[in-house]
């Protein structure tokens, strides 16, 4: 099966998924697929964001979850009752990426000139600092409980009527679903366009050979900063959608290192530098983690009867799976499952002499 046909299947299925939910509800099944799929879209945005930084520009950053968290937190601050802003969802959707981009620029400006693996460490460090701050600055962030309640997507009544949904909550879920899907599609379209502009080509040139790129008149510092801040902005956007979907910024562990690695896993398995790879990676991994594995857990519960022991839950073994996936990918197919042609060629080039 080609990548295109897989993408096509998703492109056809995603817009009609809520129908399955409604059908399931009519049949007495509470699938809640729409809420789970929103998570896939949110992570899809995160993975394409990381793709801008790691895939295009070759900046190995392991702290993307921090910018995700900043976006969520900015959304919280701008919308909850505790603060005087009350921007609502659409206002937050515009502001959260800006806040995250500024944070990205502030972190990036002094650190992007560091060599590759140092950047990885600085971004991990930044993620840890942010996690600590989120948990401990209770006056501002409300600690582990998070800011509550982040308002749902506001739905005008004519739209609600048109959707024919029974109540406001259901209509909001549907609007949330399509908003997230649309934002993801918009992000992908914009990135697809950027790929073939001067800036997009500059990113790749920098990844391939910084020295050569600089000699051709590119300013590596500025371009790296653009890639980093741009990726951070997209992550902030994802954070805004995520907090809105959960209606809270709660649980800072959603924004910690494990999550950053999860996003990196999606990107590596999908294919570094490849937009469709990023999308399919997110669909496969997050879909597996969010939709399939709860179902598997329920299956185990039914099969075994008593599954109270933590190891009887599938989630206790997931890091095995992701760890081995990373190891085998790097060994057998480092360019990912759905690679960008240029990256694949580069990874299979015979090294001259090491």
């Amino acid at each position: 099966m080609t990548t295109e046909s897989l993408l096509l299947i998703f492109a056809v299925l995603y817009p009609i998924f809520p129908v399955f939910d409604l059908a399931g509800e009519a049949a007495g099944l509470q699938l809640h697929l729409d809420q789970r799929l929103v998570t896939i879209f949110v992570y899809g945005i995160l993975v394409v964001a990381l793709n801008v930084q790691v895939g295009y520009a070759g900046l190995l950053q392991l702290g993307i979850a921090a910018f995700f968290g900043i976006g969520a937190m900015a959304t919280g601050v701008m919308t909850v009752d505790k603060y005087p802003f009350h921007f609502g969802f659409w206002g937050a959707l515009v502001c959260a990426p800006l806040v995250a981009a500024v944070a990205g620029a502030v972190i990036g400006a002094p650190t992007l000139r560091l060599r590759g693996d140092y950047l990885a460490i600085v971004t991990i460090g930044f993620g840890e600092v942010l996690r600590t701050v989120l948990i401990n600055l209770e006056n501002i962030t409300d600690g582990p409980r998070g800011l509550n309640p982040v308002p749902e997507v506001w739905t005008p009544s004519w739209l609600r009527d048109w959707l024919g949904a029974g109540d406001a909550g259901e209509a909001n879920l549907l609007v949330m679903y399509y908003t997230a899907l649309l934002v993801l599609v918009a992000a992908v379209v914009v990135l697809k366009v950027i790929e073939n502009t001067r800036i997009g080509r500059a990113f790749v040139a920098l990844r391939e050979d910084e020295l050569a790129a600089a000699c051709m008149g590119l300013d590596p510092g500025r371009i790296k900063l653009m890639a980093f801040a741009g990726g951070a902005a997209l992550s902030g956007l994802a954070g805004c959608l995520y907090a809105t979907n959960l209606t809270t910024t709660a649980d800072p562990t959603n924004y910690d290192f494990n999550n950053a690695v999860m996003v990196l896993c999606c990107l590596i398995i999908g294919g570094l530098g490849s937009l469709r790879g990023a999308l399919l990676g997110a669909a496969l991994l997050i879909g597996f983690d969010n939709v399939l594995s709860p179902l598997l857990d329920r299956g185990i519960q039914v099969a075994v009867g008593d599954a109270s022991h933590p190891l009887a839950r599938f989630s206790s073994w997931r890091w095995f799976l992701f760890g081995f996936a990373l190891i085998f990918m790097m060994r057998l197919r480092p360019e990912g499952l759905f690679p960008a042609r240029r990256v694949a060629a580069e990874l299979h080039e015979e090294p001259e002499e090491a």
Binding site: D117, Y118, I121, E128
Partner: protein, 316 residues
């Protein structure tokens, strides 16, 4: 006040010794392969579980006097050996085939190994052993029995100096001295330094680079295993995520001292241990990661080569 300072100084010193021992493993591997072995902290963690299993199996918590110390020494040796073998196996199975691949490949693989090891730790903690509390709660911290007497060696003085403090500092210093001698006085050490400086030239001079890399992983893993027992004796808990945080701190220590620089790793470890002790005392333990990683970020921005490192340009 002065007593508090002295007490924190002692705590910082012992903490710093553990950081330094782990940091040495990071720095030695980085010095030779220019690669951050993300799984190193988890080798430390697994060695902790190994040591706790040994303690449980041998009934060490009930031992007294000479037999206690003899068996404890044996646990130290076995855990070091365990760490060394695990580290070497990881290199052979995972990193070695990627030696000529782009730099991202081993780094990502190391993250993968780290997750696999953490999951092994989780499952290890679920073994139905008494020392693991029956294993019902795999993720919960397992308490490591306080094997050493907790009397204050200074009698009634306000400063508490326990046998474990002396042991941690003494044993760590002894191991570091041995490492220093290995690197500076032996032929293998000379080969290690040569490989770190220029692998290709070293190979041309007849150094068996593969053997040097293997020795480096063995020594690094051994130090991590040793550190795990020291840590467990001191902190009295073992849990499956202890490698992640301590590993990151230790890596920070290696960077602070100048990555690839062996005395630098020790210096960085001690500094970080002291900062941690004082920040816990005066700022609050909940801010610990923010303080330590804040220092890392600031240091990398202003002095990326670390305190003792030389400013080397990235190889083009």
């Amino acid at each position: 006040m002065l007593d508090t300072l002295a007490q924190q100084l002692l705590l910082g010193l012992t903490n710093g010794m553990v950081f330094a021992l782990i940091a040495l493993g990071y720095t030695m591997v980085y010095g030779i392969l220019e690669f951050i072995n993300f799984a190193h902290g988890d080798v430390f963690m697994l060695s902790g579980f190994f040591a706790l299993t040994l303690v449980g199996a041998s009934g060490l918590q009930d031992a007294q006097g000479f037999s206690l110390f003899a068996q404890l020494a044996l646990v130290l040796v076995l855990a070091s050996g365990f760490g060394a073998v695990v580290n070497l196996l990881i290199d052979r199975l995972v990193y070695k085939p990627l030696r000529k691949a782009p730099k991202l490949a081993p780094l990502v693989s190391a993250i993968g190994v780290s997750f696999v090891l953490q999951n092994i730790g989780l499952i290890w903690g679920a073994l139905p052993l008494d020392v693991f509390g029956g294993g019902g709660q795999p993720a919960a911290p397992k308490s490591f029995p306080a094997l050493l007497p907790t009397d204050n060696l200074l009698g009634d003085a306000a400063l508490t100096l326990q046998l474990k403090d002396v042991l941690v500092i003494g044993a760590s210093l002894a191991v570091m001295t041995a490492l220093f001698l290995l690197v500076t006085r032996t032929k293998l050490g000379m080969a290690m330094r040569a490989t770190a400086q220029d692998p290709q030239a070293a190979r041309l001079m007849g150094v068996d680079v593969d053997r040097v890399v293997a020795a480096t992983f063995l020594v690094g893993g051994g130090l991590a295993g040793f550190a795990a027992v020291v840590y467990a004796l001191y902190i009295n808990t073992v849990y499956y995520q202890m490698g992640y945080q301590n590993g990151l701190y230790a890596f920070t220590a290696a960077v602070v001292g100048g990555i690839g620089n062996i005395p630098g790793a020790v210096l960085g470890g001690l500094l970080l241990g002291l900062v941690r002790a004082f920040s816990d005392q005066f700022i609050g333990a909940q801010w610990q990661p923010a303080v330590l990683f804040g220092i890392l970020i600031v240091l990398l921005v202003f002095r990326p080569a670390g305190l003792l490192g030389s400013t080397a340009r990235e190889k083009v």
